[in-house]
Amino acid sequence: MTNALTAMLAVNPVPWARSQMAFTLAFHIVLVPLGVAWGFITLIANYRAIKHADADALLLAQRWSKYMAVTFAVGAVTGTVLSFEFGLLWPRFMGRFGDAFGIPFAIEGLFFFLEAIFLGIYLYGWKRLKPWPHFWTGVPIVIAGIGGTVSVVAANAWMNEPSGFTLNSAGKVVDVDPWAVIFNKAMPLQSLHMLIAAYLVGGFLIASVYAAGMLRGRRDRYHRIGFIIPFTVAAIAMPFQMLVGDELARWVYNNEPVKFAAIEMVPTTSSDVPETIFGHLNDQGQVVGGIAIPGLASWLSDPSDGSSTVVRGLDTVPASERPTNAEVDVVHLAWDAMVGLATLLFLLAIWYLGTWVFRRRMPKSALFLWIAAAAGVLSVVTLEAGWVVTEVGRQPWIVRNYMKVEAAATGNTGVWATFLAVLVIYAAIGVTLVLVLRLMSRRWREGEVDSESGGPYSPRPEPTKELVP
């Protein structure tokens, strides 16, 4: 008993720390698009409501902002956990590179502040502020969401492409160029890719709820607008994401060859590399199974050279400096999932946009609505897969070519316990969040009439002593 306990307490913290970081990030990242894109989507409805005196849009804008209050709160606190975890799980990384890595977060802090302040005003300002001033208090939320995303992803991009610092012989950071840290080479494309992803996931996820509603026969104007506003945002963003994603993949080909080799599952350097769909590496590190499309990976890497383009393989670096075979399998599968699902979503967006162009209305078939209803969850999976590609693809490095994950981790052997606690608490919060959002929606459907002393934009009522608990 004591032995078992000691053994448990003495477990290596590194795999637990990785699991905890991966899990908390994967959880938080679902809330990010809602924080970043929902404000914009709500403001579109709000604008329509004021400009065209559209009661349905007004109702949507209010309800969305109420949902947003809940998701933003959970997003804010799960984001805080991540800040703690930088230190709790990776103290040696922060101790050594905080001087540089911390800089984008200082900028992000500014945006987060703005976002929280104006969210407080916007969410609570419906009743007493005048329509247009109230609308404008929502605009900083959108700007701050964009700025915050770009800053945080700049920090992540720096881990992929560390720059802007000088190390002395002891490995301590002795000089920093903040500009070069923020605008590292991976930052522009990676930030843009995540920013568009946030709008895609936000749009598809919100629209999917109304698509499901329409499938259940709620085909009134309220549901239609509730679908059209977010879905249009996502559909317009989708083609841009395909271009940015393609550009980013080629950037990775040129600048992070090992990650690219993992993505395309290329064991040895060669030209005329096939695009392998699915498949895995065996113990000898050879590709097994999957469907190979001859020459396509080479061709996509650099179309000007066609299939004669040379793709560097995993063997260009020693095994200790590249992802393990199992990790390569994960990266490759995540890549297939991301590209495959994104293509599906792209086709869905084309269907939608095409119908608008040619028929001046949204597609109404049940098939379209079914796919649209699934698109919310599918876009979340796509987003998660993209993060798996960039994070697992960087292994074993935490700061590429400077520090390995092993060397960054805490020595605290109790991480397995915090991981379990996090797992339980987050699972409870995740389930409750969904239940609470559903409960709100059901209550509105049954109760109706948005009036509690006058509703939005109404004159200020007499001060009353009574409080709604």
Partner: protein
């Protein structure tokens, strides 16, 4: 340069204590407000009071973490290495607190409100206690620098940490009660004004006694900080005591707005007093501010961000508090009746 960033860090900690701390304190009053029926009025005052502002107040914590890890990365690493346990508890407490507060507002069944309310209120006490214990661990020199790991338990379960934890909880409760008196008055609820005023007076007395006893604890357990507090930080300590006593007197005389200002002054001066007492160390007595400080360009970035924040954020925060105090912010439009 590192001193300037240290002052910015102190400002962040003070702001978090004054605003975020009061939100935690409100959770404490929520916890002790009694059963669902008796406690419903004070709970609704609390919910009304912190609803629009708690997230903005919470950002001060992020601000402090970012300044610490960017400006004094080695100190951040040492603190998180040694104080893994209380910081993990605090982080999970923050998640529980924020989510359950948001959930509680949206559920209608009394039993679910009670469950979320309990999670919100309990974590509101747990988090400041852990934060105070962390401060105590640092002040008493139990966090070693240089990649060494202090004792995972005794580093934060010791006289100074317990003092810090208890003081953090009572201080938060005190600030919250003083603010809630003000909020209740704005709502025109005389009964609640009296309710929170009585509690503010009681907890003010408790906080004063704990702080007084604290001197003996620090004398034995955190000698460097004790010496600092009784020498170069002495004016701040005296000022804090005067503010504290003054706010108590004003509370007794029902001068609520003055009491609020003096209460804030008492807390701000004691936090700055701690900082001055620790000087020039960030981790007494193993790591100085200068040794922990990042290269100058990084420190400059922190200063510039702080200045931009002062220009951009302060007016926005001012607008938020102004609208809130003028009652222009109300609960989000209720879709149900």
């Amino acid at each position: 340069m590192s001193d300037v960033v240290a002052v910015i860090l102190m400002i962040g900690i003070t702001a978090y204590a004054l605003f975020g701390g009061a939100d935690f304190g409100a959770g404490f009053w929520d916890l002790v407000a009694g059963n669902a029926r008796d406690g419903s009025t004070p709970r609704s005052v609390i919910s009304h009071s912190i609803g629009p502002v708690w997230e903005a107040n919470h950002v001060w914590l992020i601000f402090c973490l970012v300044v610490l890890w960017t400006g004094f990365a080695e100190a951040f690493a040492s603190i998180t290495l040694t104080l893994f346990v209380p910081l993990s508890i605090a982080a999970l407490g923050i998640v529980l607190r924020g989510s359950s507060f948001a959930f509680r507002k949206e559920v209608t069944r009394t039993s679910s409100q009670r469950n979320f309310g309990a999670a919100f209120a309990l974590s509101s006490v747990l988090v400041p206690f852990c934060m105070g214990a962390v401060a105590g661990a640092i002040a008493s020199g139990r966090v070693p620098a240089g990649g060494k790991v202090g004792d995972p338990w005794s580093s934060w379960i010791n006289p100074t940490s317990i003092l810090g934890g208890v003081l953090a909880v009572t201080t938060c409760a005190y600030l919250a009660a003083v603010y809630l008196v003000w909020d209740a008055r704005r709502l025109g609820d005389d009964e609640m004004v009296e309710y929170f005023r009585r509690r503010a007076v009681a907890v003010a007395v408790v906080t004063g006694i704990v702080a007084f006893c604290g001197f003996f604890v620090l004398h034995d357990d955190a000698r460097y900080v004790f010496d600092g507090l009784t020498s170069r930080a002495l004016p701040l300590v005296i000022l804090s005591a005067i503010c504290g006593i003054g706010s108590l007197v004003l509370l007794l005389r029902r001068r609520h707005s003055g009491a609020r200002v003096l209460a804030m002054g008492a807390v701000a001066t004691v936090i700055f007093g701690w900082g001055v007492a620790q000087y020039p160390y960030i981790l007494p007595t193993s790591l100085t501010l200068t040794a922990a400080a990042a290269p100058d360009p990084t420190l400059w970035t922190v200063v510039i961000v702080f200045v931009v924040a002062a220009i951009l954020i302060l007016p926005s925060l001012g607008l938020l508090y102004y609208l809130d105090q003028r009652d222009l912010l109300d609960a989000p439009v209720e879709a149900e009746t």
